[in-house]
């Protein structure tokens, strides 16, 4: 990129106000041709909002957007698309019951004699996917695709519209490490062809690896720019959060007590009726953290669902606190089993979009005192409870009565974590608890998980992040093709060793290529 080059995209003095929040305040940003610009910031810093403005979905309160030197007025995404701007959203925007081809052409259809020309669209998709290494089947139904593939569909969607300014909002949050490598290859290829990319992520390692320039937002304002060649993870974290962040977890030796969770020979099927768990036996003791590592789609999601009463067992036994919980319902598992669950897909299982933050925070306790008295609920008590949790868990929201859908992605996650962690429990089941969360809050959530352990709870931690597993676990179980291939004590585990196990080192068959979505 040459210094003299004109920015392809420029945001000047952008301010965006929502009722009760200033999401962006006087933001200035330049994007040059052929560069990958990383946008960093805490949850709720205003990254997605800014990008939605650039994409024409939101209208800025003040300021202007300049594309290739010309100020533009955008009233809807169509205008942005015409200007060559494409966006892959934090929460994918695909119609599940349509095919890949239908999703890709939607809004920019090719018409032959009045009818949709699906064949030509499919050819174009195949050509794009070959050129950029984005393998997708144009005739596959989106609902049958794993997340990794859905994301490729989203990227193909933007390329199909000839976008040369690409906005990727947290594209790596739901991907496996292999898929992330694939995505970065694509991004580098796009950059080499002169396209410009804005890349949002909370994973600082990725930022240092791929970006050409870094801009940091805090509380809606640009707080600075950094150069990936000289920046380090800790300097970036400090810039984002405004204080020093401890990136490693500080914890004592575990003091394991009696067995809390006991799974014996559990087998279960996945949604398609295929075996997902094969004779899994696993124990978690009070006061220890058991990490479950594995490439996504090897049965981890089903493991959690079986434990939390969301999926039925074919055979085997589950005992929690000495009570038989084989095929018990979720209410029984959480109440009698004294357990809590941070689900991997917060939108599907963790929250109700259209409920207020306060109501979301009592989803599993609203029927108990102090929230329920007889037949009615006590709104005052619910409100006080919510205000307390929002404060303690640093959920950034104007107040507790806004709809949960209006929180930023990471704050939604923090809300779910706050609800689940705030009850006294004997068993904590956490699946991807820090997905989409900023470094400052990860530090906080990790401390909370360790605190739960030290209070004597058994913790089962399922995570796609090997770093997270390594940092927190006392023992690490590795899953491959529905089986636990090995359980390694933390002090004997190495990244390489775990990596081999995750690839099925104990088995002859090759590792699965892509993860499966929850």
């Amino acid at each position: 990129m040459s210094e003299a080059a004109m920015p392809v995209l420029e945001a000047r003095h952008i301010t965006k106000r929502f009722p009760g929040v200033v999401a962006n305040e006087d933001v200035n940003l330049k994007l040059y041709p052929g560069e990958i610009l990383a946008l960093l910031g805490e949850n709720g810093a205003g990254k997605s909002t800014l990008m939605n403005i650039v994409y024409g979905l939101y209208k800025q309160t003040e300021g202007e957007i300049i594309v290739r030197g010309k100020p533009v007025e955008m009233s809807n995404p169509n205008d942005a698309i015409q200007l060559g701007i494409g966006m892959v959203f934090q929460h994918f925007q695909l119609v599940p019951v349509m095919t890949v081809a239908e999703n890709v052409m939607l809004g920019s259809e090719t018409i032959k004699r009045g009818l949709l020309d699906t064949q030509q669209v499919a050819e174009r998709i195949t050509e794009l996917s070959q050129r950029y290494g984005l393998a997708v089947d144009p005739y596959a139904m989106v609902e049958d695709l794993p997340v990794g593939v859905r994301q490729r569909v989203e990227i193909v969607k933007t390329l199909y519209r000839n976008a040369d300014i690409l906005i990727l909002d947290e594209p790596t949050a739901v991907l496996t490490p292999q898929e992330i490598d694939g995505l970065f290859d694509v991004m580098e290829l796009l950059r080499s062809q002169g396209k410009s990319i804005i890349f949002i992520t909370h994973k600082l390692k990725e930022v240092l690896r791929i970006s050409d320039r870094i801009i940091v937002l805090r509380d809606g304002k640009v707080v600075g720019e950094a150069d990936p060649k000289t920046a380090t993870q800790s300097t970036l974290a400090a810039m984002m959060v405004g204080r020093e962040v401890i990136l490693t977890v500080d914890k004592d030796e575990a003091q394991p007590g009696p067995v809390v969770l006991d799974m014996q020979d559990v087998s279960a099927k996945d949604d398609h009726g295929q075996p997902a768990l094969r004779n899994v036996s696993l124990q978690a003791r009070a006061g220890e953290i058991v990490g479950v590592a594995g490439v996504q789609g090897n049965g981890q999601s089903e493991l959690v669902e079986v434990l939390t009463g969301l999926r039925s067992l074919d055979s085997g036994r589950i005992t929690i606190n000495g009570l038989d919980m084989t095929n018990a319902g979720p209410r029984r598992v959480t109440q009698d089993g004294q357990s809590c669950h941070v689900p991997e897909d917060r939108h599907a299982y963790g929250m109700v979009d259209a409920y207020s933050v306060a109501h979301n925070l009592v989803l599993n306790t609203y029927f108990q005192p102090p929230f329920a008295n007889g037949l009615t609920v006590d709104e005052q008590a619910i409100r006080r409870h919510a205000e307390d949790l929002v404060e303690r868990y640093d959920v950034r929201t104007p107040n507790v009565s806004v709809h949960a859908a209006n929180l930023s992605g990471g704050n939604q996650q923090k809300m779910v974590v706050a609800r689940e962690f705030s009850r006294p429990v004997k068993l904590l089941i956490a699946a991807q608890p820090t997905r989409g969360i900023d470094v400052g809050s990860i530090e906080f959530i990790h401390q909370q998980i360790v605190a739960k352990r030290d209070e004597g709870a058994a913790v089962l931690l399922v995570s796609a992040e090997l770093d997270e597993i390594m940092a927190l676990s006392d023992r690490i179980a590795v899953m491959y093709k529905g089986e636990i291939v090995d359980i390694v004590p933390r002090n004997r585990a190495t990244r390489e060793g775990l990596g081999l196990l995750m690839a099925g080192a104990h088995s002859e068959e090759p590792a699965p290529v892509a993860g499966k979505a929850g």
Binding site: N76, V95, V97, L106, K157
Partner: protein, 350 residues
């Protein structure tokens, strides 16, 4: 997938039943089998003709429901839109009694379409702009149509003439089938044609792709620059027009006059046909034919006097079949994911 499996199976069953019915109809009406009263009741030309006539308004009503719900607007007001269309057609016909018959009838059709579309516009405006619950808004439509038509109805007014059958050359000469399918009045042909048109429109055109996206995932549609609410307004109006045509059929083709409350629950049975047909035009056609057939059977059984069962039980037949069919299938069919939900975003406009 199991769900698709069930649907595929039901398509097979429907197809097999249709073929069996055609074979039986041909046999009963051309061979000695016609001597058996029971077989005549079940498969006689008059029973099948009645079936077609009874299913036309149901087909049109179901298509109305499909257009609205596929874009995300729940429409339980089909009954009201149909009644409004019927009344409008009647008023238009009476006002133009001195015109040439065909012109007057066509004018009636046009007014039925227009008034139906206006009812659709009202429903869309209440649901989208005023964010009224769509069930309530549909109920408003029903009550409005019933009340207004009863209040304004002049019992002395008489419409002169109605659509007569149009023979399709050659095809009408096929024995039995020609009698049933190819000697019908124009709105009947129109309704069958509309099934094909809506099917092709929904699944093979730009309009259909965008409409379905609005009903399944409006946000996704918005992010590719589709104006969700515009499609919702448009399709609710188109749907309303079809329901209005269904009402027009009752006045201009079936009965020839208007009676208070003459839709008699057909709008609701249409809704059932839409659900039973899994929001697909051909599925709805099959369901409407089934429901129409039960009405025909009710009629033929009473006429032929072959059973001792009290007539009240026989009259219950169509409704019982509707209830059984719908309750047996609900849960296996899948409504559009976003139906009934208002789409609001900052960028969205009407």
């Amino acid at each position: 997938m199991t769900k698709n499996g069930v649907l595929k199976k039901s398509q097979w069953i429907a197809g097999a039943l249709a073929v069996a019915a055609v074979v039986m109809a041909v046999l009963v009406n051309t061979t000695a089998l016609g001597q058996y009263t029971w077989l005549r009741v079940l498969f006689g030309v008059s029973a099948l003709n009645f079936t077609l006539r009874a299913s036309v308004p149901l087909v049109l009503g179901a298509l109305c429901g499909i257009l609205c719900e596929r874009t995300g607007i729940i429409n339980i007001g089909i009954e009201g839109m149909m009644l409004a269309g019927a009344f409008a057609a009647f008023v238009a016909k009476v006002a133009t009694n001195d015109w040439p018959l065909l012109a007057s009838l066509l004018f009636g059709v046009a007014i039925a379409l227009a008034v139906g579309a206006l009812m659709g516009l009202l429903h869309a405006t209440l649901s989208i702009r005023y964010r009224m619950d769509q069930i309530i808004s549909g109920t408003v439509i029903i009550i409005l149509a019933a009340g207004t038509s009863a209040y304004l109805f002049d019992r002395d007014a008489v419409a002169q003439g109605k659509f007569g059958p149009v023979r399709i050359p050659l095809l009408a000469d096929i024995p039995v089938i020609g009698d049933i399918l190819f000697q019908n009045p124009p709105i009947t042909y129109m309704a069958l044609l509309l099934v094909v048109i809506v099917h092709v429109g929904l699944f093979y055109t730009r309009w259909g792709l965008r409409s379905r996206a609005c009903g399944e995932h409006p946000r996704a549609a918005d992010t590719v620059g589709i104006n969700v609410n515009r499609y919702r307004y448009l399709n609710t109006m188109l749907g309303g027009a079809l329901a209005g045509l269904g009402g027009g059929f009752l006045v201009l083709e079936a009965v020839g006059q208007f009676q208070e409350g003459m839709t008699a629950g057909r709008g609701f049975i249409s809704l059932a046909a839409m659900i039973f047909g899994n929001w697909n035009p051909f599925g709805a056609l099959a369901a409407a034919t089934l429901f129409g057939y039960t009405q025909a059977l009710q009629n033929e059984l009473l006429l032929a006097g072959v059973t001792q069962a009290p007539r009240q039980f026989i009259s219950m037949l169509p409704y019982v079949v509707t209830i059984v069919a719908v309750s047996g299938f609900v849960g296996r069919v899948r409504p559009p994911a976003a139906e009934g939900k208002v789409y609001e975003t900052e960028g969205s406009s009407e």
